[in-house]
């Protein structure tokens, strides 16, 4: 200590103290600071985000911006969550072919792992609805279909029709048919409210009710055999009237013409 105290007036002493202080501060920082970079490099999540970001840059960024911040052509994706990406890309709606009143579903060109990576990237932009697991959207209750039917008629049928056949909205927009839509996508649609659809968050519609609706839609639009014969599209009285005119009255008039054309007159001559 003597040596130290003897040299405390040395011209370089201040410099040495400063160096020590810097080293300690830097060392402490290195030891306790959240070591983002160092951890990220090794985890799968971060790899997925990186991959997702690359896919995003190719397929999505022209409208949604390189960092999902949105542009005049597409909304910001901050906070939409992974469920929205899984729905939009999984049903082929995104990437959109062209702008229009509504982006239609089409063939999906991405693999599920690609979609998951993009979803991971978009989820990293801000917290939002998370892609559901199969336990979340599968109901085990026996009366799920009938309860779901009641919920469906209260919340969904006014746009999607009583059988999930879809319906018209204003200005060329529409509620699409639910035929062939997977359980996960139905669930995600309720979570995220794509396009004109409202969001049904946990507060207004708990997970159990969403499961029941999924069960009903899957039954109604995919499994249910129609006891009455051809459904004629399950579109209500309009198609019934058309069918009645063409195949009912049309055939009857054809038969009337046939009957009238066959008279005893023909035999006499």
């Amino acid at each position: 200590m003597k040596k130290l105290s003897a040299r405390r007036r040395h011209p370089l002493a201040a410099l040495v103290v400063l160096l020590f202080a810097l080293a300690i501060t830097g060392g402490l920082y290195a030891a306790f600071a959240p070591a983002e970079k160092a951890q990220a490099d090794s985890s799968a999540q971060s790899l997925a985000i990186d991959e997702g970001k690359r896919l995003f840059a190719v397929g999505c960024s022209s409208c949604h911006g390189l960092n999902g911040e949105g542009s005049a052509d597409g909304p910001s994706l901050v906070g939409v969550g992974s469920a929205a990406v899984d729905f939009q890309v999984g049903t082929g709606r995104m990437p959109a072919q062209q702008p229009g009143a509504q982006i239609p579903a089409k063939r999906n060109i991405y693999s599920q792992s690609d979609i998951d990576q993009m979803a991971a990237f978009v989820a990293s932009l801000g917290p939002g609805p998370v892609t559901p697991t199969s336990e979340q959207y599968t109901s085990t209750e026996t009366d799920a279909i009938s309860k779901g039917g009641d919920l469906f008629r209260t919340n969904c049928a006014q746009c999607h029709n009583f059988a999930g056949a879809g319906g018209a909205l204003t200005q060329g927009k529409y509620a699409p048919s639910l035929e062939g839509v997977s359980a996960k996508h139905i669930y995600e649609a309720m979570q995220t409210g794509p396009q004109s659809m409202p969001v049904f968050p946990e507060g207004t519609m708990p997970e159990k009710q969403k499961q029941e609706i999924v069960a009903f839609v899957r039954y109604q639009a995919n499994e249910a055999p129609n006891p009455g014969g051809l459904t004629l599209g399950s579109l209500g009285p309009v198609t019934e009237g058309l069918f009645g005119w063409i195949f009912g009255l049309g055939v009857l008039i054809a038969v009337a013409i046939w009957v009238a054309a066959h008279t005893t007159k023909a035999k006499k001559s």
Binding site: A101, R153, G172, G229, V238, G244, A256, V259, T263, K265
Partner: protein, 551 residues
């Protein structure tokens, strides 16, 4: 059988009469003695009906009506017209544990538990859809051929009333199952009733026995649907048929057909066989339809709850034009003195009977314009009365445009159009298109008249080309057979009403009322220069066929 020996002794004094040859004759004798069927049958069995497919459209109406009544009776055996609430625990799992009215539950039971119930329900509903469609086509046949002229104006009105009652009974039947669709229809009707100024709320309370939906409306509709309207319809139907018998059937013009005769086949045996056979054909086709295609799948709609609604909530097709009127009407409202006048609903409500009244009143309007008091039993070819044909086509256009308005959502989704654009199209189209169609149809009829005239004067084109010695090519025309010439020229061509000269024989100005002037103008429109092509005269025909004027 055991009683027959005891009745034989009193019959012995009649031994002077020839013994009946067989049991059939004996039975006929028995009935004739009590019901007088012999003279009835003699007068009517040989009644003549002309043969044409379009005369069988009315038969389709009659037979589908019979089918509706037969199946309807079966349905009443199982249907419970009650709005009492029950919890469903039947065999249709997707409705298990759902609260619903007894009416709905019993309809579900008819569909899934009652033997043949679903088929009968579907036959009942399909037959109703076809019934009204057939009445519509039958009415248009009568309209375009002028079969409504004297003496058949009253029968036209009977037919029109049957059509309207068919509309309303159909609507009531659609409302009875108390499913989500029918409840929405009743709600629609309630809205229309409420839109009536001043008395709307009172009528609504009277109809529903309280606030919507209450517990009264289904039982009330049931009584009206199965008892009141079918009863009135049955009476009108009988009157309609009696008048057809009394007036005798109209026929197409042609050789040997006059206003004083009916050319065709006798009721017995030809029409008995034909009409009887046709009944079974109609029943068979309706049954086949019902076995193939679902109609009004009430189980899929779910029970009615006022807080639920499904898209594609339309009425059956015949009420579709009323739906269209409501859908395309701007939502105008007038608020004054603490009251709201809901014009957005009230105006369509007033237009609904007006659209129907237009066609119902037509025979009387035409009769007044033409002033023809003679009887007509020979039908007009539609082309020979272009204005009437044009007006009929315009009315159908209005109806169809409004139907498009009623189904605007389905047209939007299936043709990838904007719902709003369709609504604007219908708003404009319901005024413009009937007028356009009127002029097109009228021109079309005039063109066909010119074609007829040309055929009469120059014969038909044979397709044989002849080269004349000097090199000219001509197509050889062949004279039409005499019968065709007759058919093409036998129709009358009325002349427009002429206003009396402005001054009478004493040189005093004559007063001509506005009504007479209007009538003369309309008559000019019907039969003036622009209204018809003068048909070829005998002289014209002779001049051309004699070879002088031929090119």
């Amino acid at each position: 059988m055991s009683s027959s020996p005891s009745t034989t002794p009193p019959a012995t004094p009649a031994s002077t009469r020839a013994k009946p040859a067989n049991k059939g004759e004996a039975a006929a004798d028995y009935l004739d003695g009590r019901l007088g069927i012999y003279s009835l049958a003699k007068a009517n069995l040989r009644k003549i009906f002309p043969d044409h497919w379009s005369f069988m459209l009315g038969e389709i109406c009659l037979y589908t009506f019979v089918i509706i009544i037969l199946t309807g009776v079966y349905l009443t055996l199982f249907f419970k017209p009650s709005m009492g609430e029950v919890v469903y625990n039947g065999s249709y799992a997707p409705l298990d544990g759902i609260r619903m009215s007894e009416a709905y539950a019993s309809t579900i039971n008819i569909s899934f538990e009652v033997r043949g119930g679903l088929l009968i329900r579907q036959i009942h509903h399909w037959a109703a859809i076809v019934f009204v469609a057939a009445m519509f086509v039958h009415m248009m046949r009568v309209f375009f051929t002028g079969a409504f002229r004297k003496p058949r104006e009253i029968n036209w009105v009977f037919g029109f009333l049957l059509l309207c009652l068919g509309f309303f009974d159909g609507f009531m039947g659609y409302s009875l199952p108390d499913d989500l669709l029918s409840g929405t229809g009743i709600r629609f009707m309630e809205g229309a009733v409420l839109a009536v100024p001043l008395v709307g709320t009172y009528i609504q309370m009277f109809l529903f026995g309280g606030e919507f939906p209450g517990t009264d409306i289904i039982p009330r509709f049931f009584t009206i649907h199965v008892l009141l309207i079918p009863g009135v319809m049955l009476g009108l139907l009988v009157a309609h048929l009696i008048l057809v018998f009394y007036h005798k059937h109209t026929q197409w013009g042609g050789p040997g057909k006059t206003e004083k005769n009916v050319v065709g086949m006798p009721l017995m045996p030809v029409y008995m066989a034909k009409a009887g056979g046709f009944f079974f054909l109609v029943f068979g086709i309706i049954a086949a339809m019902s076995a193939i295609a679902s109609v009004n799948p009430v189980w899929a709609y779910g029970p009615y709850r006022p807080d639920q609604v499904s898209t594609d909530a339309q009425p059956d097709w015949y009420m579709g034009f009323a739906e269209g009127l409501i859908r395309v009407m701007p939502g105008w409202e007038v608020r004054a003195w603490g009251h709201t006048l809901n014009l957005g609903v009230f105006i369509p409500l007033m237009l609904f009977p007006l659209v129907l009244a237009l066609i119902a009143a037509y025979p009387f309007i035409e009769g007044w314009i033409i002033g023809d008091k003679r009887e007509h039993h020979i039908l007009d070819r539609p082309r020979n009365v272009p204005v009437r044909t044009g007006l009929g086509a315009a009315w159908i256009t209005l109806y169809v445009v409004l139907l498009i308005g009623g189904g605007n959502d389905l047209i939007a989704t299936h043709f990838h159009l904007s719902l709003n654009d369709i609504t604007y199209f219908v708003r404009v189209g319901s005024f413009v298109l009937p007028i356009a169609v009127f002029y097109i149809t009228k021109r079309w009829c005039l063109g066909l008249q010119r074609r007829d005239k040309e055929k009469v004067l120059h014969g038909r084109e044979t397709g044989v080309i002849k080269r004349l010695p000097h090199g000219e090519f001509i197509e050889v025309h062949a004279q039409l057979p005499q019968a065709t010439l007759h058919s093409l020229t036998s129709h009358e061509q009325p002349q427009p009403l002429e206003l009396p000269s402005e001054v009478d024989e004493n040189g005093v100005a004559r007063k001509v009322g506005l009504l007479t002037k209007t009538r003369a103008k309309l008559s000019e429109g019907y039969f003036g220069e622009g209204g018809q092509i003068p048909k070829p005269t005998v002289e014209e025909h002779q001049e051309i066929t004699s070879g002088h004027g031929h090119h």
